[in-house]
Every structure is written in C-alpha cells, then in structure tokens.
C-alpha cells in the first residue's frame, strides 16, 4: 500500500494517479511487488559489479523512473538555459574585467576570500572556451507544483555519467516499463554533445580526467567519471597519463605522446597544476594552466568555475540577472521551509514515499545551452539532508503530443575522431595493467591446477618407488611455484604438511588478491557486462576461500570464465594484445620451468614426470585418445613442447607471442620468440639433457618479459617538485 504525501509526484490531490505515471505503474503492477523487489536488488548488484576500479558506492539505485511531462520539461529547459547563461556570464566577468566588483554589485571579499577563486586563470582576454560548458541544477517541486532551485553545480558536474547511463542499465533489469514507449531518447542529445566535443577538439584527444585508481578519495566520484567516459565514448585518464610538452598537454601512449585538446574535469581545480599552485606533482597535471591560458587546452569546466557554488554566493546570484542578462529569473530559489514533493521508491516489496530532488543537466554547444531531456531523481530525507543513499532514479521526459524537433547546432560534418583502438594509442598505464592482469590470472590458474593434482597424491601414495618418485617431483614443483617453503622441497612432502602450509601461508588468497587488484585497475578496458561477469566469478572464488583447498574448483572456474571473456568478448585491440602476452608469457614460463623439474633424469626414469607433465598441461584426455594412454617420451614431448595445435604447449605460447609482438610492431622481439618456438620444437625430438635446455627457454622468456616491459611501459623516473629553497639556502 503506497501512502502518498500531501505533495506527491505520482498521486494528485484528489488521489488519482497522474497520467505521466500510468505506463510506469502499469508495468510495476504487472511485474508484481515481490518480483520488483528482486529486480531492484538485481539492478543494484549490476551497478555495483559494473562499477569501475572496484569503487563501491553507498548509492542505492531505484528501478522506477520519475517521469516529467513535455510541458514541465519545456518550462525547465528555458529556466535552466537562462540560469546557465547567467552563471557563465558571472564567471566570465569575475575571471576577466570584474565589472561586478567595480560597480559594487558583489562585495569583493565574496570572491577574494574563496579558495575556488583561482587567480592563475584570471585573464585579460577571454579564453577560447567558456568558463562553464556543463551545468547541473538541483531542484525540488514545491507544494504548488512549481520547480524551485536548491543549488547550482558550476564546477565538477556530479552525476552526468549516471544520467547518461542509468537508463540503459535499468532497461536490462526492468524492460517491462519501457514497452509503452513515449519517452524522449537521450541518444540524440548525447550524440550532439560528443560531436560538439570532438569538433572543438579539432583532432586532439577528448578525455575524462579522473583521479588515480590507487587513490579514489581525490576524485569526487570516479564511478561517475568512468560512466561518463563510456557514455561519451572517450578515454578515462588520470594525471599520471599526461605530460606537458611545448606548452600543450599530451597523453603518454605506447607509441609516444598524443596531444590532448579537451579534458572533462573530475578533479578539483584547487590543486590541479602543481607547477603554479604547488603540491605533489603526481596528484595533478603540471603545466595545465599554462596550456589553458595559451588556448591549447580546454578544461571542462574551467578550474575555478566552482566559485559560484559557495553558499556565500547564493544570496547574491538573483541580483545578477538584471545587470548581466537584463532579465528576471525564471527559476526561484527554494525557501528553507519549502517541503519537497514525494515520489515512490522501491523498498523491499513495498513502495515507499520519499521526498525527491531532481537534478537536470545542460551544456553549451558553441551556440547555446542544451538541456538533457532526462536527468536523475534523488531520494532525500528532507531539503537540507545530505544526498546519496536514499535512492537514485532515472528521470524521464515524456514525448509531446506533437513531434519534437531538437534545435541546436546543425550537425554539419561529423567531426573527425581520433581512433583509440589502435594498439599504439593505448595509454601506457593501461597496457601495463592488462599485461600484469594476464600474468596474474595465469599464475593463479597454474597454482590451483598444481594443488588440485598434488593434494590427493601426497595424501594417498604408497611406498612403491614410482609413487615416492612422483611425490618428490610434486614437492619440487610446489616449492618452485612458491606454494611450499623452499626448505621443504628436498624430500617428499606429506599431504598434511602441504595443508598446514596452505593454512599458514595462504598463497592462493595472495594470488587472488593480486588478480582482484589488477581487475580493478584495468576495469576501464572491460565492458560493464564483462566486468560484472568477471567480478561475479571472482567473488565466488573469494567466498570459497578461507579454506584454500575447497576453493580450488571455484578458482579454476574463475580462470575459465576469464579466459572465455577475453577470447569471446574483447576486441582484439591493443588492450587485448597485452592481456594475451601476459598470459602467454606466464604460461610458457611456468611450463618450461615445470618440465625442467619433472624431466630431470635419464630417459628410462622419466615416466612419472611425463605423466605429471601431461596432467598439469590439462592434456590427459587428448593424449589418451591419441596414444592409448601409453606414456613414452617422444609423444609426450611432442604434445607439450612442439604441438602447434595444443593451446597449452610451449610452441603454441611462442607462436601467439610472436603474433602479438608483430602486431605491435616489435619485429625484433617477434623474431626472438619465433626462434624460441623453433628451439621448443627441436627439443621435442631430443630425449636427453632436457633440463638445461628447458631452463634456458624459461630464462629467455623472462628476458623477453623484461624487454616487453621496457619497450612499452617506458619507465620514466618519477616527477618531483623542485622546492624553492632559495630564500633559505641563500641566507645560510
């Protein structure tokens, strides 16, 4: 039973369902309360799993949209555009001629005492880009039905990424509510925005600038930044990806520096440029302000535009309409006592009536202000209460009866967009993360596979010489893989000893943690659905963990999921190439090292090692089918070393590596792997002296790995601030 508030979005004063809500509520009733509750949980899990960088937010997402009628939106559209014009005009003045201060419209201390007044970006000439390109307004609907303003967002625009993405994600969870249609699509507006951004960038890169993955606290909302980058189809980058050269900003990529023309800013402007503002060089972008003043960089919004958000400004803003625009404000500010209207939010199997705040978004397209026909609805506890965890929902704008034409800059020529998919344009940091992700998943899988094989054998072996030999070999492999302390590897280890080592040292948990960290770090290169699948499998493995032994099947299942996703869902672009190289290098190295231990001995005593080798390479079935299960050196070596059709053979790893390196233009390294492949094939024909030859191949693969790292992830020395110590040192 929904108890409507006195002022309710869904129910009018006479207790009737408002027309705009009919399609939404019809769908909700069709779905049924229990199912709707389940869908809400599922939507939240999706959003959580798809969140980049593992950033968990306290937000709760509500599956029910809040519809606005075409008429309501038309009124808001004009009012928002007017307010955006005003705020930008005020910023242009305060960062330029300061007429508002000279003529006494604003008290000087209002501006000069704010930390958001960034003096370095005060300019005599207007900048090529407006101080404010994006704008958002928080609104409530008062008891008489009119919208009132709670606050302006003029600096960092919170929630734009969500506003452009939430509908797509909701549509997957509650498709029923979209069937009636009749709502305005966000796509034309979003396409116009991306076209505008690329046109202005004139071939330079457009990207969203967020904090470093390692320090989410520094960005206001990294999840939103990542969603925005995805929605606009631009890169998400962090300060460390950027370098200033010749006065302009560039992104460090595998092939060198690419000029950055436009950054949508998710970082505060207060410490953005360590060169001019001081502070840690790696937390900001040294040289950014100089590039802005020289017209070589557009920061959206310009640092310092948050100035007008200060509560001290609020009482003065209304008085600026007359001098700056010659107009009266269309949107009035909410009085402190105004109670917001309520809207329904899903709360378990019930619909709960909560006060709601609307957030609408606008941007300047070079000609005028465009308002997004959508937005976000936030459940709040009262007007003044902090936002966030009382539900976030999609705002709908319903179609007018008459067809609606979108006005704005005519999309003349589709602007040239630089292609990011080319391997060469991948940010070095991203390639680095993917390379190590590939390695660490493979390492985890190999450890799980080895433990699965080792535990039962060490437990149940007889004292027959063959079994004893097998146990010794397994112990050596375990020590080599770091799953047993090295001092235990001398003799044969018992199952009990291995178990107690696992309990004490928790090696699998450590490997899984590293995989998890790298999945987060590389998350921007995985699509939301891929990310959700990978995280789900990862969570299952982690949950099984404290007991390392029982977790092994879930870990193998995670590894299989991951491999499947990489094979079937990733474009074979730069990112995939590095993931693949990481996996192949790790697998090749592990195989060569493992075999060098297992095949250490005269040909007549190789049998136990051959059997284990086949098992570790997951090739038992294929071998049995081909050779009727009779173990002999030649066919085993052919299958493990030389078989180009076996995805777990050494030759196969080398062939794939060679291919990846060729595609990356690293012809010399490709040639080195081709020779390694040749050596592996040759080795399969020789049944003696395997150990040194295999150890040499493993060593060469390690060298290759170092070389790939040096080649692609240019290890520049760390930047630091040259402290200005002159006053001090000179005086000593």
């Amino acid at each position: 039973m929904y108890v409507a508030a006195a002022s309710d979005e869904m129910i009018d004063r006479s207790g009737r369902l408002r027309t705009a809500w009919v399609p939404v509520m019809e769908a909700a009733y069709t779905i049924g309360p229990d199912e709707l509750a389940r869908r809400a949980v599922s939507l939240n899990r999706q959003m959580h799993l798809a969140a980049p960088f593992g950033a968990s937010t306290a937000r709760e997402y509500d599956p029910l949209p809040a519809p606005l009628t075409a008429m309501e939106f038309a009124v808001l559209e004009v009012a928002l555009a007017q307010r955006a014009r005003l705020l930008n005009a005020a910023l242009e003045d305060l960062y330029g001629p300061q007429t508002l201060l000279r003529d006494g419209t604003l008290p000087p201390s209002l501006v000069f005492s704010s930390p958001h007044f960034i003096r370095s970006l005060h300019t005599v000439q207007k900048l090529a880009v407006p101080r404010m390109t994006f704008y958002a307004a928080d609104l409530i609907r008062g008891p008489h039905g009119g919208f009132q303003l709670l606050r302006d967002h003029t600096g960092i625009i919170p929630g734009l990424g969500h506003a452009l993405s939430l509908r797509r994600l909701t549509a997957g969870t509650v498709p029923e509510i979209f069937r009636a249609g009749g709502l305005r699509s966000l796509r034309p507006a979003r396409d116009m925005l991306t076209d505008h951004l690329h046109r202005e960038a004139q071939g330079g890169l457009v990207a969203v600038l967020s904090a470093r993955a390692a320090s989410p606290a520094e960005a206001q909302d990294m999840t939103d930044d990542a969603l925005l980058a995805r929605a606009l189809g631009v890169l998400l980058i962090e300060p460390g990806d950027l370098a200033a050269r010749n006065g302009a900003l560039h992104m460090k990529t595998l092939s060198g520096l690419l000029r950055v023309a436009t950054l949508i800013r998710g970082l505060s402007g207060i410490e953005l440029d360590p060169l001019e503002q001081g502070g840690r060089p790696d937390a900001g972008v040294p040289g950014a302000f100089g590039a802005v003043r020289a017209g070589l960089l557009a920061l959206l919004n310009m640092p310092g535009s948050g100035l007008l958000e200060g509560p001290a400004f609020a009482p003065y803003l209304e008085s600026l309409f007359a001098p700056l625009l010659g107009e009266t404000p269309l949107l009035e500010r909410a009085a402190a006592e105004t109670a917001p209207s309520h809207a329904p939010f899903v709360n378990g199997a019930a619909l709960e009536s909560r006060p709601m705040m609307f957030r609408l978004f606008a941007w300047h397209d070079g000609q005028g202000w465009q308002v997004l026909p959508g937005g976000l609805g936030f459940g709040i506890s009262s007007q003044a209460a902090p936002l966030g965890n009382a539900g976030v929902k999609d705002l709908w704008v319903l179609e007018a009866e008459e067809p609606h034409f979108i006005a704005g800059a005519a999309p003349a020529e589709p602007p040239a967009r630089p292609t990011f998919l080319a391997a060469a344009n991948l940010p070095s940091r991203v390639a680095d993360n993917l390379f190590w992700l590939g390695r660490s998943v493979e390492r985890l899988e190999a450890a799980a596979r080895l433990l699965m094989l080792a535990l039962p054998r060490l437990e149940s072996g007889t004292s027959l010489p063959r079994d004893a030999a097998e146990r010794r070999l397994i112990s050596r492999c375990l020590a080599q893989a770091g799953l047993l302390p090295a001092d235990l590897s001398g003799g044969a280890v018992s199952g009990r000893l291995l178990r107690s080592a696992l309990v004490r040292r928790k090696p699998v948990a450590g490997l899984l943690k590293e995989v998890s960290r790298l999945v987060n770090a590389a998350s921007e290169r995985l699509s939301p659905s891929m990310l959700a699948t990978v995280r789900f499998a990862l969570n299952q493995a982690s949950e099984a963990l404290p007991d390392e032994e029982n977790a092994l099947p879930s870990i193998l299942s995670f590894a299989a999921t991951f491999a499947g996703i990489a094979a079937e869902n990733m474009l074979r672009d730069g990112g995939w190439l590095f993931l693949e190289m990481g996996r192949r290098l790790e697998r090749g190295e592990t195989l060569a090292e493992g075999l060098s231990l297992l095949l250490d001995g005269p040909p007549e005593r190789l049998e136990p090692g051959l059997g284990l080798g086949i098992e570790l390479a997951d090739s038992v079935l294929s071998y049995d089918l081909r050779h009727a299960g009779i173990l002999a050196p030649a066919p085993v070596l052919a299958m493990l070393l030389a078989d180009a059709g076996n995805p777990r053979s050494l030759a196969y790893q080398c062939a794939v590596l060679c291919n990846c390196l060729k595609r990356l233009g690293a012809d010399d390294d490709a040639e080195a792997t081709r020779q390694l492949q040749h050596r592996a094939v040759e080795l399969a024909g020789a049944a003696t002296e395997l150990r040194p030859a295999l150890a040499a191949i493993a060593a060469d693969l390690r060298l290759l790995s170092d070389h790939v790292q040096r080649r692609f992830f240019t290890l520049l020395p760390e930047a630091h601030q040259l402290e200005d110590q002159e006053t001090l040192e000179a005086a000593q």
């Binding site: 300061q98 201060l101 000279r102 006494g104 008290p107 000087p108 201390s109 000069f112 005492s113 003096r119 370095s120 005060h122 200033a244 050269r245 010749n246 006065g247 360590p274 060169l275 001019e276 001081g278 060089p281 040294p286 040289g287 100089g290 003043r293 020289a294 520049l716 020395p717 760390e718 930047a719 630091h720 601030q721 040259l722 402290e723 200005d724 110590q725 002159e726 006053t727 001090l728 040192e729 000179a730 005086a731 000593q732």
Partner: protein, 288 residues
C-alpha cells in the same frame, strides 16, 4: 637612482634531469616609482619552449620547458632599473586606521590584500601582538611605522630556523626568522585589523649609502611589506627586517598576497636526484 641588477640561480643535480618545466617570477615589474629600462633572463641549457606572461597581480612570469637531459640548470637575470619613489606623506596626514580598513574592504583593487592568504593568516596570537601599535583612531602610517620598528626589535634575524612554508603564526612563535618571515608576520598582523598589506619580493642595494650600516638581506633575494594608505596616498613600503621606510635602496621584483603567489622559481623535474643550489645577487648603483 639607477641600478644595475644581477641575480643568478644555479641548480646542480646529482643525476641527469630528463625533463623539466619551470615557472618563474624572475623579471622585475613596473610600479609607480620604478621603471624597468631593460631586463633579460638568460637560461641555460636553452629551453625548448619559453612563454612570457603576466600573472594575476601584473607580475611578469616566464614558463620554460627543457627536454634535453641536463645536470645543471641556471637562470641569470640582468636588468637596469630606475627607482624614484615618492616620499611618504606625514603620518598625521593619513587616515585613522579604522576608517581606512572600512574603505579598503570595499575597494576591488585592494580588498584581497585585507583577507587572509595561506602563509599570512590572522590568528589570536598575532591579534594580541599587533594591538599596541594601533590604538583606536591612530593615524595609519603612525601605526605602521611603530609596528615595523617593534617587529625589528622583537625578532631575531636568524637564517635556518624557518622554511619557505613557515606561516606568520609559526614565525611569531619562533620570534626569529628571515626577511620572508618578518614580512609575513607584519602582513598577517595588519590583516587581523582589516588593513591591506602586500608581500613584496625584490632586492636591497649590496653596499649601503656612505655612512650607513650594512643592511640585512643584501646579497640575496629580499622581501618586505607594502601597505595601503588610502586612495589619496596609495601604497607605501616598509622593511621590517631593517626597520626602514623603503626609499631608494630597494628594487621591486614582484608582489602578491604572500610568498606563495610569487615564488621566484618553481619547477617539476623528472630525475635529478639530490641537488645543490647557488644564488648570487648584486644590486649596484650606476653612477650617472
């Protein structure tokens, strides 16, 4: 007075610097009573790019980037500057300090120098210190001269006890410091009363005029205070490190709210390891 000014700064790095960007306030500005006849900044090694701008306060800035590895970075300023400041008005001709504070906060050109800045923030301790110099209704210049002398009296000139990030309150607690600390303390003290004060970086003539004592802070970058006397008389400079009303012995480089606004040489470098720094300053009168 016509001066020949030389200021050289040299960084020697233990390891090569691969790349660097520097942002400098090292060219002298124009101001009433000071004309820059010529000024040149020689930078070695030769930068790839060099951009000259004027900052928010009207000070010249130079941004350079170097992309060739180097182990030494040096910047040399040589300039000819003419100084002819207007003598200050008689103190009793200036406004009462409360009246002046009320005008200043409304004046968009002056207001921000009444407000706190990172290194010169008012505090209770500073407020207690400044009180005796500004009794109710006192002429502002009288109070300024008194405060200037008291700081010179009460504080020890002692290099090494403070750093470039020492605040006015910390300097007050230490009762010692260098010119930068004397200036920050006086600025913060004036701001607790709502009086506008600027931080000035510049130079003091190397050898004093005949018969005068050698000044503190010659032979190096110096810093002092500029205070506003109202629309009629404008800005007057005081040097609390030497208990002087600034006349013809000082050459202004730049001004801001405090040191941070006009740090002479900032940089972000890649590589370099440890460095040593050498600075040389000469300000000599040109006899005409």
């Amino acid at each position: 007075m016509l001066y020949r000014l030389r200021h050289s700064t040299t960084y020697d790095y233990a390891q090569p610097v691969v790349m660097s960007t520097h942002f400098m306030h090292l060219l002298p500005r124009e101001r009433p009573g000071q004309r820059v006849r010529e000024a040149d900044l020689e930078i070695s090694p030769r930068p790839e790019t060099r951009r000259n701008e004027s900052d928010y306060f009207g000070n010249p800035t130079t941004t350079v980037s170097l992309t060739t590895p180097h182990q030494r970075f040096s910047v040399s300023l040589s300039a000819t500057v003419e100084v002819a400041p207007k003598p200050p008005p008689p103190p009793e001709a200036t406004l009462g300090w409360e009246t002046l504070a009320a005008i200043a906060i409304q004046d968009p050109q002056v207001a921000e120098f009444c407000l706190s800045s990172p290194l010169a923030q008012p505090s209770d301790e500073i407020n207690a210190y400044v009180g005796p110099s500004f009794s109710p209704g006192r002429f502002v210049l009288e109070g300024l001269i008194d405060l200037n002398r008291r700081i010179w009296d009460d504080f020890a000139y002692r290099p090494g006890v403070t750093s470039v990030v020492t605040t006015a309150t910390q300097a007050l607690q230490a009762r010692a410091g260098v010119c930068q600390d004397f200036a920050h303390l006086m600025i913060a003290a004036l701001r607790t009363l709502g009086l506008p004060a600027r931080y000035i970086s510049g130079y003091l003539r190397t050898l004093p005029p005949a018969g005068e004592v050698r000044r503190r802070g010659a032979d190096q970058s110096h810093a002092w205070v500029s205070a506003w006397l109202g629309p009629e008389f404008g800005w007057v400079d005081l040097d609390p490190t030497n208990n002087l009303l600034v006349g013809e012995e000082h050459v202004t480089l730049a001004w801001g709210r405090d040191f941070q606004d006009i740090s002479p040489l900032r940089g972000v470098i890649l590589g370099g390891g440890r460095h040593t720094l050498r600075v040389g300053v000469d300000l000599d009168p040109i006899l005409t």
